[in-house]
Amino acid sequence: MVRVEFLGPIAREALEIDASSVQEIADRLREDETLREWLPKCAVALNDEMISDLSIELKDGDRVTILPPVCGG
């Protein structure tokens, strides 16, 4: 299982998803109406490292983090 966590203002509990690639995570999250507005604006990290490739393979215990638009300072 892969744990998907939502940060900052996305008021959502973490999900446990059975997925073998980032692409499969994308497929699953797109089905979720409440995420439709967030996904185009969100960056993604895998085990706390920013990623930019859907083809990355996932293994059991991986952690995917969804990061909405930021404004530090």
């Binding site: 994308a26 960056a43 638009p69 930021v70 404004c71 530090g72």
Partner: protein, 145 residues
Amino acid sequence: MMELHQGALDTKEIFGRWLDEEASSNYGAYIPFVGTIRAEDEIEALSFDIYEPILKRWFDEWQDRAAKRGAIVKMAHAIGDVPIHTSSYISAVFSPKRRVALELIDEFVEDFKANAPIWKYDVINGSRVYAADRSTPMDGAGLLS
């Protein structure tokens, strides 16, 4: 050094401590950037969420980039509520040379605004409202859409 503090930063303490830390490092230029909460609309404070593991990686990469130019960076940020007219953010560059320091502080602060995993909320009548209009998608956003 990156440090996170609950609530408003003690700006003078941080400025002075960083100065002392590098007092014998032979840097010729020290440029801190101090960000202070402005009174705007009806906010009484801003509030911040921070995701520390990714912020730490972001900061460590900047430390490496600064080192290649003979410089160092430091950063402090507030977590939670920060009242107006107090400081939420200080970053700084120390460098042997003026030009490097001036260029680095600009790049460092701009990349911080664009890519540090920090979320800002207006505090109005005691409740937190995400500052969506002032927030920007991080580099690489939209991967899953």
